[in-house]
């Protein structure tokens, strides 16, 4: 490629410690896990703890220190997050680091951005076409890998300038997509399967962080679905599918899957779902039960399937058009959850 190799400085690594060069830096440093207990390591350990703590509290990573503390504090923070064995902390830490990188990257020149992108093996070039006021051209494959879960419709490929396999982007958008890549890389690092024996200090810190996280999660407690299935809280797409099914009208494969997964997800027992499909003219009890139990995770790969999100239903023409609440949500299950909550709030208390 046309990359004039930008060599990352220590300042760069302090800002973007997730870069591959950090490994080289750490190798030279020769830091061993047991040495973390040494008093001269305290600033590094302290900074590492701050990184994770700030992530839990405010989705930040705290203020930067001198390079010789800042750079090694990143791998130590990773270890710390792993030591908590807590998925909320891990997710949040990865996101916080990625967000920090995003805000720093916006001040970089195009060459540095290109160098960071190259660290992630992106197929990207500076745009030489003067008729397009956008500085970068990124392969649509790399683009899609980092945008499919972003919800704003501006990120949809159909709303981008796509020519010759390249998506034209400005620096802000490239930095935003690199944020996704950073988050992904850090999440991968945090997946560590076998855990080392952590030094005492690390274990203690991890305990503290866990406590902090518990306080935080407590506030945004996950709600399950109530036992009773409430048809009047179904979103329009499910209402349509449900009615079609009970009248024995033909449903597309995606339609059947959506309805089944939705009903199973909100807690309808598989036997009752089977019942619903009985009126189908091509009904086959054994097959239907098999499929439903498969979706419910009682067979096969044992994963319980979740009903598809709104955008998928739009693609396959299962979405029936939306009401006011639909426009606020991205998933039929969220619709159901909100509607249920609204109705319990509205119902007169005795």
């Amino acid at each position: 490629m046309q990359m004039e190799t930008v060599i990352f400085t220590e300042n760069d690594l302090a800002k973007y410690p997730f870069l591959k060069d950090t490994a080289e830096y750490m190798k030279k440093l020769g830091l061993k896990i047991e040495e973390l207990e040494n008093p001269e390591m305290a600033p590094i350990l302290d900074r590492a703890q701050e990184r994770v703590k700030e992530a839990i509290l405010s989705l930040g990573v705290g203020k930067k220190r001198e390079n010789h503390v800042e750079i090694p504090s990143f791998p130590v923070a990773i270890m710390l997050a792993i030591a908590t064995k807590n998925s909320f902390i891990k997710k949040r830490y990865a996101l916080a680091e990625a967000k920090q990188a995003f805000s720093d990257m916006q001040f970089e020149n195009n060459e540095r951005i290109m160098a960071i992108a190259a660290d992630f093996d992106w197929n990207i070039a500076l745009n030489r076409d003067l008729t397009v006021p956008l500085e970068f051209a990124l392969s649509f494959i790399d683009y899609l890998r980092n945008t499919t879960h972003l919800r704003d419709k501006n990120w949809k490929l159909v709303n981008r300038l796509l020519a010759n396999g390249k998506v034209y982007l400005n620096k802000h958008d490239v930095a935003r997509l690199l944020q996704e890549e950073v988050q992904h890389r850090i999440e991968k690092k945090l997946e560590a399967k076998e855990l080392p024996n952590f030094p005492e200090k690390i274990t203690v810190m991890a305990e503290h962080l866990l406590e902090l996280a518990r306080e935080k999660i407590g506030k945004q407690e996950m709600e399950g679905f109530p036992k009773v299935v409430s048809q009047s809280a179904f979103p329009p797409c499910i209402v349509a599918l449900y009615e079609a099914a009970s009248k024995g009208r033909h449903l597309s494969h995606v339609g059947r899957f959506t309805l089944t997964a939705f009903l199973v997800n909100i807690g309808m027992p598989p036997e009752k779902v089977t019942e619903l499909f009985k009126s189908f003219s091509d009904y086959n009890e054994r097959l239907t039960r098999y499929q439903i139990e498969h979706i419910a995770g009682e067979r096969g790969s044992r994963t319980q399937y979740t009903s598809p999100q709104c955008s998928t239903l739009q693609t396959h023409a299962v979405c029936t058009g939306s009401d006011a609440l639909c426009r606020r949500v991205h998933h039929p299950l969220t619709y159901y959850r909100i509607k249920l909550r609204q109705r319990t709030n509205e119902s007169p208390k005795k």
Partner: protein, 412 residues
Amino acid sequence: MASREFIYEKFADYYSNSSLNVPPPTLMAQREFGFFLLKERAMVRHKSFMGIKDLRRFLSDTVPSDVYHSCAYYENPSFEMDKKGWLGADLVFDIDADHIPTSCNKIHDEWTCGKCGFAGKGITPETCPVCGGVKFDTKTWPCELCLNSAKEETVKLVDMLEKDFGFASKEIRVFFSGHRGYHVQVEAEAVRTLDAMARKEVVDYVSGLGLALLEEQAPEKPVAGKRRRRGSSVFSLHDFGWNKRLKAGMQKFILNATRDDLRTVGLRSYALLQNREAVLSRCLEEGRWNSVKGVSVETWRRIARHVKELESAKIDTVVTTDLHRLIRMNGTLHGKTGLLKKEFPAERLTSFDPFVEAVAFKGGTAKVSISDAPEFRLSGKVFGPYKNEVVELPMAAAVLLVCKGRAEVAEK
């Protein structure tokens, strides 16, 4: 019964012919194969073959009516689904006349209510008008209008794959499906690992779903140094991707629009027609969308919506997003027609004639008793229409009618 044996015999002849050339799929050892067997009338899946010779032997031994292989590549293609070890998949598109509104209105298709036996022609209704039944037996027909519509959609799709997605023409493989449509397969290495969500975005792109029409043209956030606040209705369309398709489509619409066209789009003012030149230069070229009196941004939105419908390619969405899909194998017979799935270069799309080039049975004749068949063309000859008659036909025509359930073999 005789008819089924007839088909078996013909298909068996075809697959046992030693000079037959069935082209091997790319990396065939990593693909799963599936067959619908004629004798057993059953689907067999999870087969794998090391080479084309093994597959050829299997075809002539078992005589399937339909042969499929996975778009996916697996570590162990013959293992059960969860254990196959997915390595990647081609990017495939299926364009089927069933999914496209066509000018023939499917008048050649027949349906019969499974409950009361009431029958009719055209698009199958949701419920039987007599008894309200919902299960129908259908007899479809691969008509020229249907296949031409499918071809037009394929042309648009291939154009997007080349110009927008940047695939080289040798990476885009185009096939006649053997029945009512076309398959497009992209086997470029870069696309193999696209996940289902990424493929869904490709589908949405091709079908124009979610396209922001002149509301918030997303990408043009002000660039540093050019911080000029533009009015919300002033922006020009670029000469790339959907921008270009919209622009060209709108240009064409304005140049050719009649009052009827405007009404179809839902416009009641004809201001647009009085000053086409100004409309084209000021609005479309300069991007000052509401600079002509009587032509509002809403007018443009309606036109854009209409143009989007014309320019998008109507594909079967589920085929493209399915990472494990089985697709008919190139060079094999279609059980519903006896025609071949046939590859041809994308450049030949407009001139490709499925009723000549996909014909598999080239010699001999057979006498068939035809219940009902529309006029059709095969290998350059025109046949029918037929109604309750016994006719001696060239083999390919006889096989087609029997496969389609429109005729029985008269004598052997």
